[in-house]
Symmetry: C4
Subunit: 328 residues, 4 copies
Amino acid sequence: MATSRLISKIKRSDLLEKEQQRSDLGFGTRITNDTTRLINPNGTFNARRENVSFWAWLDIFHRLTVLSWPRFFLVVFAIYFVVNCFFSVLYLFIGVEYLQGIHATTKMEQFWGAFFFSAQTLTTVGYGHVAPVGMVASALSSVESLVGVLGFAIASGLVYGRFSRPIPKILFSRNSLFAPYLDINAWMFRMINESPTELVDVRVEVSITRLETLPDGKRTRKYYPIKLERSQVNFFPLSWTIVHPITEDSPLYGATEESLEESDSEFLIYIRATEETFLQPVHARHSFRYKEIIWGAKFIPMFNSVRTEDIVRVDVQKVHEYEMMPLN
Amino acid sequence: MATSRLISKIKRSDLLEKEQQRSDLGFGTRITNDTTRLINPNGTFNARRENVSFWAWLDIFHRLTVLSWPRFFLVVFAIYFVVNCFFSVLYLFIGVEYLQGIHATTKMEQFWGAFFFSAQTLTTVGYGHVAPVGMVASALSSVESLVGVLGFAIASGLVYGRFSRPIPKILFSRNSLFAPYLDINAWMFRMINESPTELVDVRVEVSITRLETLPDGKRTRKYYPIKLERSQVNFFPLSWTIVHPITEDSPLYGATEESLEESDSEFLIYIRATEETFLQPVHARHSFRYKEIIWGAKFIPMFNSVRTEDIVRVDVQKVHEYEMMPLN
Amino acid sequence: MATSRLISKIKRSDLLEKEQQRSDLGFGTRITNDTTRLINPNGTFNARRENVSFWAWLDIFHRLTVLSWPRFFLVVFAIYFVVNCFFSVLYLFIGVEYLQGIHATTKMEQFWGAFFFSAQTLTTVGYGHVAPVGMVASALSSVESLVGVLGFAIASGLVYGRFSRPIPKILFSRNSLFAPYLDINAWMFRMINESPTELVDVRVEVSITRLETLPDGKRTRKYYPIKLERSQVNFFPLSWTIVHPITEDSPLYGATEESLEESDSEFLIYIRATEETFLQPVHARHSFRYKEIIWGAKFIPMFNSVRTEDIVRVDVQKVHEYEMMPLN
Amino acid sequence: MATSRLISKIKRSDLLEKEQQRSDLGFGTRITNDTTRLINPNGTFNARRENVSFWAWLDIFHRLTVLSWPRFFLVVFAIYFVVNCFFSVLYLFIGVEYLQGIHATTKMEQFWGAFFFSAQTLTTVGYGHVAPVGMVASALSSVESLVGVLGFAIASGLVYGRFSRPIPKILFSRNSLFAPYLDINAWMFRMINESPTELVDVRVEVSITRLETLPDGKRTRKYYPIKLERSQVNFFPLSWTIVHPITEDSPLYGATEESLEESDSEFLIYIRATEETFLQPVHARHSFRYKEIIWGAKFIPMFNSVRTEDIVRVDVQKVHEYEMMPLN
């Protein structure tokens, strides 16, 4: 009795153990349609959350932060225009005669007169050739100038947030390679920091995900973290070739071009580093699908250290360059 | 002699050991009134610190940061109004004749004239149809414009602080379940990230707290961290079901609906992650009391990966959905 | 030969080992004047670096950040005044007739006219009842308005920096106690978070430093980290009593009131936590000298959990309260 | 068969092991021109990435953040001037008669009139003695004031970014020394924090890099992390002498002045700490080449703790001072 109990206990903890080793990175095992890529080339996840509650979906700060600059300025300009329209309609409603200095006859002229007065109030320029008279117009313009000041406080915050956001500009080689490596082969890719901001303490994790057929014939998605020759560098001033030597304990041992395609293999890359201007953490993701692998090739060196010079030079655009070389 | 010393030494370090294992999370063991919840559903602690010194209590920045947006704008507007009143009283005191351009006869008209001049000065609109003349009024208005500029500097800071504050929008399943799990049972709950900002490196810790009766009949509060099938994921693009398998070494081994109620059981959940827009850490807390547990049920899958599509889709609102299923 | 080499190798690495254990926290062993406190009650170091280079000493941002609020506003006001004086002298130099709208006869009136115009330009109020005419005055005022805008950009940054600076408001018990603890004694102190911002993941390190007499009669300062019953809590909503049980391996074993005084003992406390509004790290330091120890006392509970209520209440000001109790 | 497999497996993992130990810090082994320094005295890398894509190269925020203050203000002033010129040309194009209040006859006068009106609009001073009339001029000035407000939002962000950037001001001793240490020798250097901001949790890593001749006669660059007597301090209120004892397992064992020069030796120093004003991480790099080593010297104490005083004083400028002392 006691023995069986003990065994069951061991079994349970085995179970726990095994589950903990299931390094699926958070995608789960049920994504088995083999046309799906898990991580897009730009590093975003190839997944969509639907039916999100309105406020969570809105998240203005996040959206205005990740917008491209031209779109951001367009949005700001549009809001500026709309707010001015809103206030000028209110001024018209009060009566344009309470904005002294506007000499307008048609409705249109009155609107634009009020519109430009509103713009001058919102941005706090306040030339004063048009100015509010009477309680109501004065009160409205004093509210509008507060709105303006707060609005541009928000704009300042957004602009700072956009500027200071830690986005690494890492350039990845277009392809990953299966290359000869010592007396075996290795899978490798190359990357370089394109930004003038240095990256330090760079760590790389690579997982391979593929579909496997279970004994019962069902296909399931499996994940394997793979060992790298080197998974961390202190400094990253030059290029770095990340190498996974295909030893016998590698999940890629014996893999062929066909087997990778058949199993819908994808290499998931996760990079963490610290950027040096503000010492903020930065992350980058990338993935190579089986289609982006070159079999039997090696990267061409990117840097040439001329003896007569006192500085090491690297040509960033060479990161993609490789030459064919038979595998071992 | 030496032996007894050694024994005493061992006893002491045992003592230390034991105390270190007492994972009470910081609540202590004396909270034994069984109507008290330790963590509120919104993640705050169900505790109040009283008799705090005035300045510590005030902590304006914190208070204005955690206020809801409508209240925040109300506070800003109120301060704007009060400061304008204050300055307009000062201008009246100096004499409204030193504000050229105000044509007021009654006291009330004078006050509002001064008030709107003050508003124009504070927001630095400065139309100029009203302008200060003479030493004193000019000096006061130059001080007021400085106050305005600094005030809106503070407002800018607050607005940025509010915007950039890292608040995860994690949606928890309304109930946690006791569900069949392999050939045993498990306690589980489910969660999904509702925000468009991705969360990475998500770690979960779960503790169970309950009242226990000591040999001497006194009731004391105990805390047990519980083991999870998986306590960490790298990425969190989809939902995540957190599972505690009820093996023999689980504090829930043999628990029943009645025993959980009798012992006032509460599951305390603590989540740490990194949000990806600014790579800031985010925390979330949640708790399930015994009342929020469903016995014999399992969650219904939330995502459907249609073969003809190239993206994985998840319906966020399904996070709460479960179906009944007999326990093992 | 080889043996002696090996021995020497062992000796060396012993040496290294020992040095690494010398947990002097960075103060060094030569501070032996026994009237010196290492950490002041407000947490600063009782040390001064002299002869620092001018720019390192200046470090305006740091200085204006740590200034008290009244002083900060005084400095801003003083700078505002001086800059206005500077520009008004320049305007006078150009000729006050180029500022249309100033009707001044005496030099003093001219100065103040220029001064208030300068203030209106610097804060960008720009009423316009005084305005620059001619090339030089216009150019100067356009430069001044740029200076104003940049200046208040700096002020905004400073104000935000001051507000968002992570300062924990931890209230320490006035005294630390030697109290009975189980069947031995313990040294303990108590603390509570006074701020409305919660602290999480609070870790405490305590070292004791004291003067010891070397075999050669020279006195040297030694540092010992001491073991705590509990050195970390996840949450800190209530008070926390930090306890060091005086077991036989404690550096306090056998210590008396006299021995602590004779050896100029000081308990150095270092606290790290995360504040929850912005999830920033916060640090606090504190120290108890031998004079601030009560022998034979224990703390009085601070919180009363009334059965009829659904919230736990703590009286912050009770943190200092203790009652006498004979030691074991 | 199985045995050879096992052996090959071991060989492979050896291989991996060895590669992982190759602590080249990210510089690679091919930089073998011995006139090259890897880390410049100011901490930057002596490497250049060329042919970077335009937008990565530009990275305005980073560039304007690391610029010196005089250059930063020059750039801001230049942008201000150019933007004003741009808008004043537009106003001239619309017709200067639409800016009421400008009494200009020559083209030049018109340009400057428009220029100063533009400056008043951009900084939102808006005196109003010049003001736009008509649709087009009013529209342009309302756009310009928006540009102004956003531009100064950007300036505010930049100024705050520059101010809050964590740059440690660590003063390193001009030379590193080979000094007698106990009964052996040690390599050491000294440093002190010059800034009024305290540094805590300071960690130091030192590597030595040198050219070595491979068995095949080719020269390659090797990197060795070296062990320090102490590599971490909690607090850094005073100076800190970092010591590497030259035991038999040190890569410097048996090194001479000539051998260091011949092998182009460079000591690479990497410091991580936390600054205490904002509790931000700070990094510093430094390097000592063989030319900056003094053989047979020791540092002179920097601090004098006068018995009659209650504070410890350190003279920062003494950090470089040493006296000759024969090596063991």
